[in-house]
Symmetry: C2
Subunit: 419 residues, 2 copies
């Protein structure tokens, strides 16, 4: 265990020169102590004017990937398929890689881990989940010894911004989305945010580091805020809740892991209650440390650049993800065998799918909007045809996980036989 | 940059077998994947019954410190002087050290860094600041590239527990302290908590990792909650504040660092507002990442054991603190040249030291209690004889740092010429 005195010199090949890339270039220029220099930048559009010397740029990926003097590739492009080619080639060429591309990582995580193993080359992507919040590294380093009960987080800044605006300024979801796009928090394709795709990509990455689970993001139950209705916001306000889009994974009594991204009512006593605007927050619950909470900006160029820089800094002392839960322990196992307490609202009474519920606890109906609160078999959400349709919104309750289903009360059966 | 495949086997010599030590022993026994084993435990009282094999124990420190097969010393004793001897001897014998002793570390940090350098041996102490919250490591790894504007935190679980009880259950400070002791959150000598000594020790450690500042804890302006008055809680409630004991360091416009531990009014929009009971929370503000917040249990045996385990885990892959701000950059420089907005309350009007204020903004007086709000020259707090006396309480405002002192208004001068 010796103290390492020499810091590696990082010669960086950068893909992409958007706001994050340019910001990174500037910070590295201004901070010689970092001992890191961008040698070459690969761009798609050479005709664009850039705030950097012309000779830095190329349109040829091989000029970076084949350059033996470059020992680190930083990938900051939008196109996940091109990014996949870049990252995997770089690892094969034994160049360390830093990427912020959550879609790429989530969809190829198993293969990317195998490449890291095979070529003994590190691949870091702290900015891919919650941007500036060091959640991946903390899951790797802090919870390998400690029984992890669960994680739950607001991992998409754009939808959280929208929900905050809807609640605080009482504007419509549509108007709030426009504001988020204007502020630059939304993905270039806002559907990725709004439909929960971005959040479920991040959950996939968190599952790998929290539980060693290799999941396909699209196979995980997930939704966004696309179908939330103004009446849901009214209902939440009356009960003292906020609505948040929450990504969560939880170890159940049988040791298996439940994981999903769904809108959730959040109570005042939850740390997630106070996560507003484009901020992200993650609550980690474990046996020894109990509840921990990490909070920070989850969207925007600076927070992303901040996380990329911290990855570069980590590479200087040979840091790598160890994927401890996957490689050194028994990986977790996903399950759909659980019950959730949910609220579902509909535009008309005849749309209430009461047969989907194991137990209905509360319901209300008006000529404008109906809603039902009850316990549902999680596996029923695998069929999205009924709960993801337009004008139907599903929101999980704060005490989402139900151990046992109480028997139906007679009166309810009677009421619903009328429907 | 190669992926390290072999994990070190840790042979541990443990000093102290209290709740944390015993917990650590149990977890390591139950978790062979950690590849860490306690070889020998040095205790003070061999006559006590222990829940571990007799042959594990010794009363001879040399049996651990001189044992060549032991490569890690974990120090978990209460006595800071004895701990100093243990830690420095271990480092000289090139054994990695993990300690939870904030007093020892705060008071000897410069020397302990020199020993780490000289003997090229790591010394980790994540549990010494905010127990389970990985704040030291995050300050080391995440903010070396990013301009750190400031940190402010609730770093003492015991006083925070007391303040929470006073506010939520409206009981007296004395009664709340008894409850904290009963719950096991208070230090064995509660004065260390209540008078801010523990908090300023932690601030000293944070200053080293945040800014490379080597400070003497006792030389930093600090106070605890010992003189807070019931009337202060009433005042805070009326304004919608909570009172928290906040340790903070902030980079001023001149680039120098202000640092202190003082009670502070905290507003609802601050993340610290929601840190309750024995929890700790630290807000880190930086240029790129903006505001980050780390939250978790700051007191108790399990959170401490959790942090010790994470240090052991870090040793397995040769992690060490780099003290980047101190060793690779220009270290920060402390200053007392600043102005603070404070509230001071007193038992009688003739105790109001209005001459200490640069500007008085508000004052009120009754036959029970007087208070003054105004701007004070920070350096005046170096003389503690007036503001740390019994029946005087000083609380910092949320917008504590005042750039410039506005000119006195005529009316105030008139009012105060009457006092």
């Amino acid at each position: 265990m010796s103290i390492q005195q020499q810091q590696k010199k990082l010669n960086i090949g950068l893909f992409g020169f958007g706001v994050v890339g340019e910001g990174l270039y500037k910070v590295l220029e201004q901070t010689p102590t970092l001992n890191a220099q961008i040698k070459k930048v690969c761009i798609k559009h050479p005709e664009k004017k850039r705030n950097a010397p012309q000779e830095l740029f190329t349109t040829d990926p091989a000029a970076l990937l084949q350059d033996e003097s470059i020992n680190v590739i930083v990938e900051l492009i939008d196109d996940a398929d091109a990014a996949y080619h870049i990252v995997s080639t770089a690892l094969k060429n034994r160049k360390a890689v830093v990427s912020a591309n959550k879609k790429l990582i989530a969809e190829h995580i198993e293969e990317l881990i195998a490449l890291q193993q095979q070529f003994k080359t590190p691949f870091l992507y702290e900015s891919a989940a919650c941007a500036s919040i060091p959640v991946i590294r903390n899951l790797e380093e802090y919870y390998d010894n400690d029984l992890l009960h669960g994680i739950s987080g607001i991992v998409n800044g754009s939808t959280n911004y929208i929900l905050t605006k809807v609640f605080e300024e009482k504007i419509s979801f549509e108007e709030a989305l426009l504001q988020a796009q204007y502020e630059g928090f939304a993905e270039s394709n806002p559907a990725l945010d709004v439909e929960g795709t971005d959040a479920v990509n991040k959950l996939t990455i968190l599952l790998a580091h929290a539980y060693g689970i290799m999941a396909q993001p699209q196979a995980l139950v997930h939704s966004g805020i696309q179908h939330l209705h103004a009446a849901d916001a009214v209902f939440a306000r009356e009960k003292g809740y906020e609505i948040k889009l929450v990504a969560q994974a939880r170890k159940l009594d049988d040791g298996k892991i439940a994981a999903f991204v769904l809108p959730q009512f959040v109570q005042k006593d939850s740390q997630l209650f106070n996560v507003r605007n484009e901020y992200n927050g993650v609550v980690i619950e474990s046996r020894l440390a109990d509840k921990q909470f990490f909070y920070g900006k989850g969207a925007g160029s600076f927070p992303t650049a901040s996380a990329v820089l911290s990855d570069l800094s980590a590479l200087r002392y040979d840091y790598k993800y160890e994927y401890k839960k996957l490689l050194y322990q028994q990986p977790g196992q996903l399950t759909n065998d659980l019950f959730l307490r949910v609220y579902i609202s509909f535009d008309a009474l005849f749309h209430v799918p009461h047969e989907k519920f194991e137990r209905i606890e509360e319901w209300s109906s008006s000529d404008k909007r109906c809603h039902v609160t009850g316990i549902i078999r999680f596996a029923r959400l695998l069929d999205t045809s009924w709960w993801k349709r337009k004008n139907t919104s599903l929101i999980v309750y704060p005490d989402a996980f139900v151990d046992k289903i109480p028997e139906k009360r007679k009166v309810e059966e009677d009421v619903f036989s009328l429907v």
